[in-house]
Subunit: 217 residues, 2 copies
């Protein structure tokens, strides 16, 4: 209910769905404190609820946020708009994490740091992403993802140039490998076959192995 996190959550995303007659559309009048609080709670609940079940109902999300269904529609006039906002929120947060991370130095060590400190975010967003995939227009997801992906891609490219990551496979594939393994880890945890604390190290070890130039230490 009072999941008050300090997230700013660039609220009104007038993306593709119509400008929405949500609570304070456009009008930058005074914004009441509880409204801000509720909006943050809704985004958090969206993340959490959809992670457990990508088909969760608007009613379920509202309930999880400790808010009436009508209030939810007051903040986000669409299911699409809600998911868009939630995804943007998670991605923005992830970008923040990466910004504070030192990706210089030995690419292998940088990769290790990156994986260990960010895989949990991927975990959280994985089902959200699944939901987004069938609710949001074509390019939207990639747009939102762009920033985050660029950072990782640059690290991988640097590693290849320095001969520390294998260059016989395209960067796109290395990126996909990373995504896939993180999602796989999340699945294993959900299935109870993997301890959450073990996930980071295992991912690091597996990825470093997968990225190592063939026939070499």
């Amino acid at each position: 209910m009072r999941v008050t996190n300090g997230a700013v959550s660039a609220s009104r995303r007038a993306g593709s769905p119509g400008e929405g007659g949500a609570v304070t559309a456009g009008q930058t009048g005074r914004r009441r404190a509880d409204a801000v609080r509720n909006q943050a709670a809704i985004l958090t609940a969206t993340r959490g609820t959809l992670s457990a079940n990508p088909d969760a109902t608007m009613a379920q999300i509202a309930h999880a946020a400790g808010v009436g269904r009508v209030t939810l529609y007051g903040h986000f006039s669409n299911r699409a708009e809600l998911i868009d906002a939630a995804l943007a929120d998670v991605l923005h947060r992830g970008n923040g994490v990466l910004e504070q991370l030192d990706l210089d130095g030995d690419p292998r060590e940088a990769l290790g740091r990156l994986v260990v400190s960010s895989w949990k975010l991927v975990d959280e967003s994985r089902s959200l992403l699944a939901a987004a995939q069938r609710e949001l227009p074509e390019g939207r997801i990639r747009d939102l993802h762009g920033d985050l992906e660029g950072r990782v891609r640059r690290l991988l490219e640097r590693g290849q140039q320095e001969g520390l990551f294998r260059a016989d496979l395209p960067v796109d594939w290395l990126l996909a490998t990373m995504h896939a393994l993180m999602h796989g880890a999340a699945n294993e945890i959900a299935a109870g076959r993997l301890e959450p604390d073990d996930a980071g190290p295992m991912l690091r070890a597996t990825l470093l192995g997968a990225y190592a130039p063939p026939g070499d230490a």
Copy 2:
């Protein structure tokens, strides 16, 4: 009369299409040829349609099978039952592939053969599996999967014992890695970033790297 003779519901576990099998629990009446044909068409259509869209409607599946919706219900009385049968079909087929495969000799080469010749099946079943995950009861999926998984697991264990696969990570995780990467490859293909023909070799290369004992060729 109609096909809904009341006993049809519980008896739809026939493996691959073309495999005769009993129609009714008690009375094996004569089974007409077009009925067998249609049932096979339905299973195929289920696989194909759900692969494109895990939320596909019964109506869509029926249409894709070139069959009326009512006819579909004549063969499978539930959505769950249909998906169960389709998944069993795919898995049975996969088992057939693995049976004909030589998994002896150098585990690394065996793994390569396994991946290249079976990843496509995983591709086909991935969305089917997603559909099954929210439509089928808890243990059912794992039950159906059991046989298939056992084969791979044995190969991995042997590789570990022979010192050719890393033993610092549990077999469960190596298995999960394989799954995750295959799904990832399927995604990349769906997104147009990977050529279907490249997937097999890339998977092979990546997995061999990931499985190699740390600090070694």
